[in-house]
Symmetry: C2
Subunit: 350 residues, 2 copies
């Protein structure tokens, strides 16, 4: 699927299915509203599927998009850049947190190299789709060309398509890229108009000095590129990253198939802003997995009108917050599919 | 096990195992602290098990304790009392929300009648342990005798023991009882000293008039019984319920086996206060599943020093919030058991 046909395929939520889900929630053997945000989530998922009850979001598939970042040269993180490739090897070997969480929730993992600097050595669940070996330094020049951004989006679209065609009923965003919270914060600032100080966090845990430098780098980059949110691809190319671009495509792909996509942390949330700028209806497919410790994630989710399911102070990335949220998403759907009505169970109403 | 031997068996958390878990978390391939509250949870579970890593909390078993309440006569809820028995039948038939959630997380369910007013018709996973067919009206007299409270605690202990001896590695609290948020709020007020207005919620969703009446009933009951938190059994008998008492025993049973017990909503949280009053070390076994919409639950958890894992606006009971939290508990343990260290994975540190 090309980006154009994908964008054209992304329609609005089905109001009739949503109304049916709301009506059904009111007849199930529980007090109305007693499942809190899970009730509204089930309604949204019915609207996305266009049917009530919606299908179970299982099996689920996680795609971890990996890339490196020229802005690493600005000293925005204490971690060496080689850790991106090392962690990708860890994912492939099954030793990372996302692997443990994926086993817990019975989700598959595909690792996609869209921009890792150091060549990888392959592996069973690694997709080699490297577009360039790390972006340019966004503090100095555009992080990538618009063609590169579009190619990365296309990779994300293709991965979503392959996973859904392969049977996935729910997609989960994952990411790996040392320094990638810097382009994520820049994207959030560019698309929401929030100030760099309000969207910049400590990423993997930087000290005060590095934190100030990070805000400064983002402020200067925004002044340099003057990104226009009405030009999403140009903005993405200027201050984004290759995994951010691929995630935007991945989210759009999910939306075009009307399959829910669970948004992990600030990297995916910034990519979700790109997706929403390209196709506003794609928000109907998005489920916010958690409230990341990164402030930019909260700003992005609020801008998208999404309420996060979890709030555990996570700031790991990899897709970990999305994986932890999956059972909640499945449970919300299961209520519509399996819980008896007052009538059918012979339970009195108040 | 008798209550006395159980209380004697409940020791403190193992500091050495906790230190080992903290040290291991620091060596795993992720930034230190990046898993937020799940890291501290894993440390607590190591302390409970007395070993690092602790065992996986699977398989898990939910016990739903059911009872009726004389205080129903005060008009504290719009739901008819017969709904308790009807919902128990729904649990046994597999049609309630807790059944759907239990299937999602692969947990077993045992339903325990400790105080249902209407005789039940049996069923495969129903344990008949009825102590009396509903409590007395706590607005008028003690809800039950101390002997009845002790018998209910003993039922909870026995159920915990049977489930753990049967292989359960994690216990989840469940409850059913029309009007049972009223005794729960009274217990929370009695054990924490909070005012009735601060611990009383709208339960299944009562209107303003009923809500005011509920606060008034609790205020008058506390004035009538003058419960002394230093006398936990007397307090429980005066203003509690049979399922609350059984849940206190269930929690103490889990603690005596050093098995984690996931606390659901305000009913279980009020029972946890009773358990903690009888055996302060039992708090080490408690995991707060979620922040219920009932304000009394938050007051109780804060008093116990517990941080809830989920905050979804749930107010259903049945054990639903505990079931939803189970995968998070399992994931936190899985990190300690399965994630590679920087050394073993060849990942550079910052």
């Amino acid at each position: 699927m090309t980006l154009e046909t994908t964008l054209a395929a992304i329609g609005p939520a089905d109001e009739q299915a949503m109304a049916a889900a709301r009506e059904l929630q009111g007849r199930l053997t529980k007090p109305a509203g007693s499942l809190g945000v899970l009730e509204e989530l089930s309604v949204r998922l019915a609207g996305l599927a266009g049917t009530c009850p919606p299908p179970m979001p299982e099996p689920a598939a996680i795609a971890v998009f990996a890339g490196d970042h020229g802005v690493h040269a600005q000293g925005v993180t204490p971690w060496p850049q080689e850790v991106t490739a090392q962690m990708v090897a860890n994912f492939i070997a099954g030793g990372a947190t996302i692997n443990a969480f994926a086993r817990q929730v019975d989700a598959s993992i595909m690792v996609v190299d869209v921009g890792v600097k150091i060549p990888l050595h392959g592996g069973e669940n690694l997709l080699e789709a490297n577009i360039r070996r790390g972006t340019h330094d966004l503090a100095v020049t555009a992080a990538m060309s618009e063609d590169e951004a579009l190619t990365a989006i296309q990779v994300g679209l293709s991965v979503a398509g392959a996973l859904v065609e392969g049977g996935a009923k729910c997609l989960l965003t994952g990411d790996m890229g040392i320094a990638n919270t810097t382009p994520a914060a820049a994207l959030v600032a560019a698309f929401t108009g929030a100030s760099p100080a309000d969207v910049t966090g400590r990423g993997t845990g930087v000290d005060d000095e590095t934190y100030e430098r990070k805000i400064d780098v983002i402020t200067k980059a925004l002044a340099l590129h003057e990104p226009d949110p009405a030009q999403p691809i140009t903005t993405l190319a200027a201050v984004g990253g290759l995994e951010h671009a691929a995630l935007a495509g991945f989210i759009l792909g999910a939306a075009s198939y009307r399959v829910p996509v669970i948004i992990d942390g600030v990297i995916a949330a910034s990519a979700a802003l790109v997706a929403a700028a390209l196709a506003p209806n794609s928000v109907a497919a998005m489920v916010a997995g958690h409230r990341s410790a990164e402030p930019g994630a909260s700003v992005a989710l609020a801008n998208l009108g999404l309420t996060p399911l979890l709030d555990l102070g996570l700031r790991l990335g990899e897709g970990t917050g999305a994986a932890l949220a999956l059972p909640l998403v499945a449970s919300s759907v299961r209520v519509l599919r399996e819980v008896a009505t007052f009538d059918s169970a012979g339970v009195s109403e108040k």
